[in-house]
């Protein structure tokens, strides 16, 4: 280890140790300060990650035998795709602690225990390169999230937490079957090695379906999204922040890490379906968000729409699309996380999440409304903010793929502007039912709202650094996908003329825009 300690393992183990340490603490206030300290120390421990090299290789690799009888390995590493997600997870933790400072007043110790446990599991999910290790972290993260909603949630927390748990666990049981099938067919659980293996189309077909179900529920994509609004609305604000910023990303990360590299031919085969579902998510999420009276529900439905952009970008299979998807993942984490924190902030004042109870705040809470306006603009993709970068990339990718897909995105983007303006206008200038005596943001609230704001502008105005990080990995992903999907087409048991035709015109739906060269 060039840094004197195994970085990724430390990032996973340290929060767990810190969580165990919480049991020694009696006072709630000390528990808050302690967790805050632990989360900052965690960030300090992550400093070696800044030496990340801008290449497509796996970095910070740690590899050890775990259960040698089954070939299970403790194998961690990051590349351009997972790097930003790990960073996002680590950065979200102190914000969550800060925004729960006064919001959570019962069982404070256990709450922070769940936050720390959650962080460890999330880092594990993004860093694991062994399928079973990945699954272990993937499932382990359900328990603290379930408790966050079920114990500290709103009135319907039992219903919401149960729905969340049932949906996500039911989806991922088939993922386990797929993982085992990969091992039996491909001979290993190691993801980098499986990426080199060519599987038969029939196998890919079923493996893709089993994995995609788990990931689509997690994202969530259109027909499987019903758990999300319930969970978001009932969760405490830190829970919503983690849910939006990190958990949803795991679904799209799964598509990028597993579906595309492991089952390239099936991904090509199902791409039209996935694109259709993504567009449905965008339009449906936006349309439903337009009609919400509850601010939190509105942001929750807007998440469905934004995540639709991500999955769409992924299944466009071109450089711009995948870049856009990654940017959108990062941006959605920052923006929606910040919006949920703001909802928590205002909820502490009004004790209501309804728009009609939170009107006219431009007069009473100008600083609050400034931040809200900023994040709302970023959310709808206003130029100069980070939301714009992600969305424009997906747009470019979509138009490269087919003008029709691009055209269908336009109403989606318009809907985003419509619902965000509607709620923002009411919150800023609506006529409140009574004069409010709420104090404006205090220092702590300033702190946790200012940090995401810096990133909104930084990514919005100078995204080059982030491009440098993700580009090598994205290029490798897309080129691998192209080459391997083509090979698959030839290898597939077809009569010779058909196979030749397949090799000449790699994918049927690519014929929609044959004249356009891939414009990278």
């Amino acid at each position: 280890m060039e840094f004197g300690y195994p970085v990724l393992t430390t990032l996973i183990v340290f929060p767990l140790l810190a969580a165990a340490g919480l049991f020694l603490i009696k006072s709630p206030q000390v528990a808050r300060v302690y967790t805050m300290g632990a989360s900052i120390l965690e960030l300090i421990l992550a400093i070696p990650l800044f030496t990340f090299k801008h290449i497509a290789d796996w970095q910070f690799v740690e590899r050890a035998a775990w259960v040698p009888q089954w070939g299970l390995e403790y194998h961690l590493a990051v590349d351009g795709i997972s790097y930003l997600m790990v960073m996002l997870t680590l950065a979200i933790l102190p914000l969550c602690v800060m925004c729960s400072w006064t919001y959570i007043s019962k069982r404070v110790k256990e709450f922070h225990f769940c936050l720390l446990f959650m962080t460890a599991a999330c880092v594990g999910v993004f860093a694991a390169l062994d399928l079973v290790l990945f699954y272990v972290f993937w499932e382990a993260m359900l328990i603290p999230m379930y408790l966050l909603i079920a114990v500290w949630g709103g009135d319907q927390r039992r219903y919401a937490s149960l729905k969340f748990f049932l949906f996500t666990l039911a989806g991922s049981t088939l993922l386990l079957a797929a993982i085992v099938a990969f091992r039996i067919t491909g001979g290993t659980f190691s993801i980098p090695e499986l990426m080199q293996t060519n599987f038969s189309f029939n196998f890919q077909f079923w493996a893709f379906l089993a994995m995609a179900l788990a990931f689509a529920i997690k994202v969530p994509m259109f027909p499987f999204h019903t758990w999300l609004p319930a969970a978001h609305v009932q969760a405490p604000s830190a829970g919503s922040v983690i849910l939006a910023a990190v958990l949803l990303k795991m679904g799209t990360y799964g598509f990028l890490r597993f579906c595309l590299p492991l089952t390239p031919a099936a991904s090509e085969y199902f791409a039209p379906l996935m694109i259709a579902i993504s567009i449905a998510s965008i339009l449906y999420g936006g349309a439903i968000a337009l009609g919400q009276e509850d601010i939190k529900k509105l942001v929750a439905y807007s998440s469905v729409g934004h995540m639709g952009f991500v999955t769409l970008g992924i299944f466009l299979f071109n450089q711009r699309g995948v870049e856009g998807a990654l940017f959108q993942m990062l941006n959605h984490g920052i923006i929606t996380g910040a919006l949920f924190m703001m909802i928590g902030t205002v909820y502490e004042r009004s004790h209501s999440r309804l728009i009609k109870d939170n009107m006219g705040m431009g007069k009473y809470l100008p600083a609050f409304m400034f931040f809200w306006g900023l994040y709302a603009l970023a959310s709808l993709g206003f130029p100069g903010t980070n939301g714009f970068v992600g969305e424009i990339l997906v747009f470019v990718g979509a138009f490269q793929k087919s003008p029709y897909i691009g055209a269908l995105l336009v109403p989606g983007a318009l809907l985003g502007a419509a619902y965000m303006f509607r709620v923002t206008l009411k919150m800023a200038w609506g006529q409140p039912s009574s004069a409010k005596t709420w104090p404006d943001l205090n220092t702590r609230e300033w702190a946790y709202l200012l940090i995401p704001a810096l990133f909104v502008f930084y990514i919005g105005l100078a995204p080059k650094l982030f491009f440098d990080v993700i580009d090598p990995s994205v290029e490798k992903l897309v080129s691998d996908l192209k080459s391997r999907a083509t090979v698959e087409q030839v290898v597939a048991a077809q009569p010779a003329p058909v196979a030749v035709a397949a090799a000449v015109v790699p994918v049927a739906h690519a014929a929609d825009s044959p004249a356009q060269p891939v414009n990278n």
């Binding site: 009888q69 499932e139 328990i143 114990v151 049932l166 386990l176």
Partner: protein, 478 residues
């Protein structure tokens, strides 16, 4: 091989305990220390004895009794389980003082029968050992009283258990006669060389199916499971904790030995797979509707019996090892859950789900342990339940029973709901009136903590224990 008493020290030691308890039960108990006071120490020493004789090897008593990695592994597990069960039962509120020596004697006898079972490699020996372990349980189940009077439900449970047990035993004997008539031997090693196809030996296949019925009764596999929820519900919490755990080990060890006959693709193997699928589906669906925790755990054990079948039908050493590991995981998880149930119901009542309400406030330690147990039974990482299930799936995939594997994972999804409701009631509901006062003594929390730690640690680093399971499996199916 020369017979040497040193080889069967664990069995002899257990027998010694039984004799001691028997002698004590003859007196009125006034001049001997109470059984629950001294027995735990001796049971703990029994675990040590089993560790010492872990490497015993040999085929004794005319080739009917085999000491090998599998048998010693299971004997150790049974001794450890017996120790936990004795500790658990030592504070039983619903057991009269004067009946305690008898109660523990029957428990010890049952455990002894299971120890014999894990070494038996001949059908008559298996049958006898099975009966020793069953008969003593028939007597234990009705031993439950409230305020000095017997509980009718317990008597009902005992009657059901006896009737089902008698029928299953009858079936097993009848099947045994068929096997003997058609294959002319009762030694498993020789039976393994004979044909077990339907076209070749229909009589033997029928016989084996019936014989397996006797084991399925112990294991509570569909359709021999009907006694299970009723018996758990009627018996006291501690007794149910014993009945739900250790006898399954005995059944699994015999099934693992018989698995050498069950090549994939044989009719009887397919039958086993179908029964396994029915068992998990039926058990899980029934458990969804339960309010009584012991009934819920009863149906859950029906489902888990089905899961174990997945490893047995795969016909590989890894499959057998996975089944062995899962049986161990099952016992650990259930001992943990029943430990918590027994401690929460400190007045000996039957716990309803609502009685768990607000447990996190009344006893955070027990609530956490219950959470670990429930999530382990679901099969969530990082617990032993997950590793066990993962090994089962990995070993059975691509051996002709992929549909069974899919049934298993779908069933795990169904099962979440009711296991989660244990956690839900303990953590999210507020306590109502008339909830039992949990036992928060150091004894209770320490036991729960140790069992929870076992479930978690073996879930994270299962390698060492799994090595023993593989050793046992390889020996049967090299």
């Amino acid at each position: 091989m020369e017979f040497n008493l040193i080889q069967i020290v664990p069995e002899l030691y257990q027998l010694l305990l039984i004799v001691a308890l028997f002698c004590q039960s003859l007196g009125d108990g006034s001049d001997t220390p109470p059984a629950e006071r001294w027995l735990p120490f001796f049971a703990a020493f029994g675990v040590f004895v089993n560790i010492v004789s872990f490497n015993a090897q040999g085929l004794i008593f005319g080739g009917a009794y085999k000491l090998d990695a599998l048998s010693q592994f299971f004997k150790l597990a049974i001794a450890a389980g017996f120790y936990v069960a004795v500790l658990n039962a030592s504070r039983q509120p619903s057991l009269e003082e004067r009946k305690r020596p008898d109660y523990f004697m029957f428990l010890a006898l049952s455990a002894w029968g299971l120890m014999l079972l894990s070494s038996a490699v001949e059908l008559i020996t298996i049958y006898l050992a099975l009966e020793i372990s069953s008969y003593s349980l028939y007597a234990v189940i009705p031993l439950r009283s409230v305020n000095g009077k017997g509980v009718p439900g317990a008597a009902e449970a005992a009657i059901k258990y006896i009737l089902f047990g008698a029928v299953a035993t009858g079936l097993a004997l009848y099947g045994f006669s068929y096997i003997l008539a058609s294959q002319h031997t009762s030694y498993i090693a020789e039976l393994a060389l004979r044909s077990w196809t339907w076209s070749g030996q229909p009589m033997a296949v029928v016989g084996l199916s019936l014989f397996l019925g006797g084991l399925f009764f112990k294991l509570a596999l569909f359709p021999f499971h009907f006694w299970c929820p009723d018996a758990y519900q009627g018996a006291s919490n501690e007794t149910a904790g014993f009945v739900a755990t250790l006898p399954k080990l005995g059944a699994v060890v015999v099934l693992v030995r018989l698995a050498v006959l069950l090549k994939p693709g044989l009719e009887i193997t397919t039958l086993l797979a179908v029964l396994g699928a029915c068992s998990m589906t039926f058990g899980n669906l029934c458990a969804l509707a339960q309010k009584d925790i012991k009934r819920l755990l009863g149906f859950s054990s029906v489902a888990h019996a089905g899961y174990i079948m997945v490893g047995l039908v795969s016909g590989t050493a890894m499959g057998l090892a996975a089944a062995v590991f899962y049986a161990l995981a099952y016992v650990a998880m259930n001992l943990l859950c029943f430990w918590v149930v027994s401690r929460v119901a400190s007045d000996g009542r039957n716990l309803q789900l609502d009685d768990l309400n607000g447990l996190y406030k009344r006893s955070p330690g027990l609530a956490f342990a219950l959470g670990v147990g429930a999530f382990a039974l679901v099969g969530l990482p990082p617990t032993m339940g997950f590793m066990g299930k993962f090994f089962l799936i990995a070993s059975a995939w691509d051996h002709g029973y992929n549909w069974l594997v899919i049934t298993l994972v779908v069933n795990s999804a169904i099962a979440i709901y009711y296991y989660l409701s244990l956690v839900r009631h303990a953590y999210t509901h507020e306590a109502g009136e008339d909830v039992p006062t949990p036992d928060n003594s150091a004894f209770s929390l320490f036991g729960a903590g140790i069992l929870a730690a076992v479930v978690l640690v073996l879930g994270m680093v299962p390698g060492r224990v799994f090595d023993f399971a593989i050793l046992a499996g390889k020996q049967l199916l090299p």
